[in-house]
Structure formats: structure tokens, C-alpha cells
């Protein structure tokens, strides 16, 4: 596979694969826990905690997929009343705000993770390094920045080519 094909595949599937992994994982461990509890009256110590952490990863990776597909909940009444060029400038401005917010997120989560690495903080029940769970947050903010920039590039191309600008599809 060429480098381009690899990136193309990642662009299309990166978040999807991670979502499937984290989502299937937590469904699976919850079922294991229930089975153990009801049939064998025993319990694993790591299921609840690792399920929660998998869910946090799911949250932030799916947030990136939602950004890519322009699905984050917003009202587009103002934008709909504008010309195509007006829509573009508005969406440019909103994308900038989106990125600013993600940068704030990255700025304030990094010291937390640095401290966790420095002091060797581990999770309460399973005792794996806590930064593995916390890394979901910078991964999400970072990926969202990438996706928002990608969409802006698409918008610029659409604007130049005279095509209508894209909008998010319905969520369900």
C-alpha cells in the first residue's frame, strides 16, 4: 500500500475502528461481570473501572467523528439565511472558535497528565497508569482540531469550485 492509501484509510476509518473496539470492550466486560455475579457469585475487580475508562475513550473519539461529520448540535438558522460566501465566512469563524476551545482543552489537560506521569499515578482498582485513561481527552481535542481543519479545507475547495457548502446529516 502506498503512503497515500494508508492515510486515506486512516482518514476514513481511524475513529470508527477505535469506537468499535472501546464500545465492544465495555459491553463485553459488563456482560462478563454480570455472568460471574449471577452464576458464580464472584466479581472481577477491574470491570467497572475499565468499562468507564473505555467509555471515556469512546466519548472523545466519537466526538472527533462527530466533528468530521459536522454532527455537533448547533442551530443553523443564521447560516441558512446567508449567501454561500457569507456561509463560508461564518463557518470559518465558528471553526476558529471550535479550535480555540480545543486548544484550551489541550492546554489545561496536559499539566494533569504530566503530573500523572511524573508521580506514577495509577487507577484505583486495576492499577494501570492513569494517563492511559486520561489520554482520551487530549486525543479527542487533538483529533477534533484535525477534523475541523480538514472540513475547512473541504469548504474552501467547495467555495472555489462553486459547489454548495456541506452540512451535517441527521444524527439518527
Amino acid at each position: 500500500m502506498t503512503c497515500r492509501a494508508v492515510f486515506g484509510w486512516l482518514d476514513e476509518n481511524f475513529e470508527r475502528v477505535l469506537i468499535l473496539i472501546f464500545y465492544s470492550y465495555f459491553i463485553f466486560v459488563i456482560l462478563v461481570e454480570i455472568t460471574l455475579r449471577t452464576l458464580f457469585s464472584s466479581s472481577l475487580h477491574f470491570t467497572e473501572e475499565s468499562a468507564r475508562h473505555a467509555f471515556i475513550w469512546l466519548t472523545w473519539i466519537a466526538a472527533s467523528l462527530a466533528a468530521k461529520k459536522r454532527l455537533h448540535i448547533s442551530i443553523d438558522l443564521v447560516s441558512r439565511s446567508l449567501s454561500r460566501r457569507g456561509q463560508f465566512y461564518l463557518s470559518f469563524f465558528y471553526s476558529a472558535l471550535f479550535i480555540v476551545f480545543c486548544l484550551y482543552g489541550l492546554r489545561y489537560v496536559s499539566p494533569v497528565i504530566e503530573a500523572q506521569i511524573q508521580f506514577g499515578v495509577v487507577s484505583v482498582a486495576t492499577r494501570y497508569p492513569m494517563y492511559l485513561a486520561y489520554a482520551a481527552v487530549p486525543a479527542g481535542y487533538g483529533l477534533m482540531i484535525v477534523r475541523v481543519v480538514q472540513n475547512l479545507v473541504v469548504d474552501i475547495a467547495d467555495l472555489r469550485a462553486g459547489r454548495p457548502l456541506r452540512r451535517g446529516a441527521a444524527l439518527i
Binding site: T59, G105, I172
Partner: protein, 428 residues
Amino acid sequence: MIEIVLVGVVVLIGLFFAGVPIFVALGLGTILIFELTNNSAMLSNLGTASFEGVNGFAFLAVPLFILTGDIISRTGIARALLQLAGAIIGHIRGGITATVLLACGIFAAISGSSASDAAVFAKLSIPELEKRGYPRDYSAALVAAGGTTAVLIPPSIGFILISYTLQLSLTDLFLAAFVPGVFTLVLLIAINFVYVRWGPLRSLALDEQKFSFRQLRSSLDEAKVGLCFPVIILGGIYSGIFTPTEAGAVAVAVGLLHGALTRRLTFGEYCDALLSSGIVVGVVMPIVAVAYFFGQALTVFEAQAALVKFVLGATTNPVSVLLLMFVILFILGTFMDLVPNILVLGPLLLPIAVGIGMDPLHFGIWFMFTLAIGLITPPYGINLFVVCGISGCGLIDVSKRIAPFLLSMILASAIIAAVPRLSLFLIR
């Protein structure tokens, strides 16, 4: 200091109405509040809030109650439920419209998402209603209204968020919501009946086929797998065998097993179902995280206390206060999504409700049922968007048809507010 909070709130509302995604608007508004007050300690909480705000085992139920609904609609169970509803009330004159509402209500005891309830039955029943001559925009409004029961009748994603933001037991909320939920469904069916039989559509309400026990039995047989799901989910939660999250996982497992055994669900469809409910997590949970951050701003500046003092300083008459809250919830419900409304308004209004002597659990139920009206009111109503997308009708055309359903839901909200026992008698 409270003025700065107001500035932040005005900015975030402005950004949202201008079209910025709600979680970005809420986040930037909160950042502005802390930047203006030079409160870098609170500002740095954004990092931990992005993690701790979504770190709860109960949240895992959010996608699971959507996934279950998705699986059963892919494996034909939703269609069987629709046929069962038809066998129960389809024979009454105009009964096909009631059939759709009843099927939405049964599905609501499996699914927790009003948008997916509406989506499933818009696809299944709008073509059928059209064959009987019902106008498409009316059918779309009917399904949009029926879909709201998914957040009213447990399990419900709305109550998962309310449980978190108002610090109420989710099991209690699910128990308390059951009777008001079924009551609202009955009200929707009843008022729709009046509308169909005596309103502008009366010429369409024909005598349907005769009621037959044989048909009822065969459709019960078809739907028996589907009827297991409410038993597993609600039975499991109410009896205390499962937490809501576990009940969701078990329901998903049963749905997958059934789909695999009957070969109605392929691996590819499993992945699609996971992705479409997974992405809802990516849309809803960042709002929860940022609302947690915003909540810290409200707490630091004691905004709740200021609001309580302001409102209860003006009047302590419970009826006026309730009316005021109703107007706020109704108006914001028309413009804003259910999720931010729950997360932002819940903690602000609960102290006021407690101030007029309302039970917090009763408030939680009434709050949900009132906000749910916003699911079918333009300009921003998720259920309207869903049915418009599927039926191809315009938002304005469908909105003109929502009057009978709007009336039912407003009436339900008023009765739930006036009769606390309706919500509380199963609990206390």
C-alpha cells in the same frame, strides 16, 4: 461578580444562536467567565472536567439503550411490535393512527432515545398511513409525537442525564416516570382519536377490519421476543437485579443473540449499529463534560442561590412559580436541544422547586415531561427534524399538524405538576 456570570451566559447563548456547536459555546462562555475574573485555578479545571464530567458508570447506558432499539429494528422486531399494536387497537375507527402511537410507546419501554423511536416508526408506518389516505405531514407529526414517549417511558436517556445533574437515583426516576409516561401515551392516543374522528381528517377515519382473537394471538406470537425486552430492562432494573447500565448490556446481548440465531443481523450491521449509537455518545457526552465545567462556574459565583432569591423574592406562590418555570422550559425547549436544557436548567431550577416545597423527584419527572414538549416544537425540535428527514415533508408543514399532540403534552405536564402522587406513589 454575578454580573460576570451573566456576561458569560449571554455570550454563550449568543454564540449558540449564531450557530456555534452547543458544547463549544458552553465551553467558551465558561472560559470567558473565568478569564474575566482572572480565576486561573478554576480555568484549569477544564482539563479534569473533560474527564471527570463523563466518568460515571450510569452514562454507559446512554448508547446501550439506543443500540438495543437499533438492533430490534434491524431484526424485524419493531415491525412485529407495530403489528401487535395494530391487533390490539387497529380495529377501532381511525385506529391505525392510534396503532402507531401505541407501537411507539411499546418501543419506548426498550429504547431510550426519542429520535431513534421516531426514526424507526417513521420508516415503518408513514408509507402504511399514506396508503389509507392520511396526509404525509400529519403522519410525520404523529410519529414525531409518538417518539417523544421514548424519553418519557423508561428506559430514557433524558432521565440518565437528569439523575446525574440533579443527583437523584436513576432507579427511582425510572420507577417514578413509568406511570406518568404511560399516562402521557394514553393522553396522546385519546386526543389524537378526538382529532382524527371529529377533526379535519374525519373523512379518512374509516371502519377498519374486525377485531380477531386469532390475529391477536398470531401477532403476540410474532412479537414475543420483542416483549421480552421491556421485561428484561424494566423488570431487571425495578427488581434490583441489574443496574440500568447492566440492563442495557443484557438487552443488547439478547438482541444480538436473537439476531445471530435468526440470521437477521450480520456482522456488518452490528458494526453499523455500534457506530450509529456510538456517535451519539460523541455528540451528547462532550456537552455533559462542558456542562460540568459550567456548573462549577455557577457554583463558584453562587448563581443558583442568587436565582432562587430573585425568583422567590418576587413570589412564593407555587402556582405562579411553576407557571414561570413552565414558560422558561417551554420557550427554551423550542430553541434548544433537550440535552443542554437538562444539564444547564436542571441545577438552576431545582433549588427554586425545592423552595416552593416540591419533592426533588417529582420535580425531576415534571422537568423531563415539560422539556420533552420541545422535541416537537419548531424551530428546534429533534423529532421534527427526524420525521422531516425521513418523510421528505417540510418543517413548516409538519409543524402545522402538531397542535393536537402539543395540547396532549402540555396537558400531561400540567397534570403531572398538579398531581405529585402520579409520579411518587410507586416510590413513597
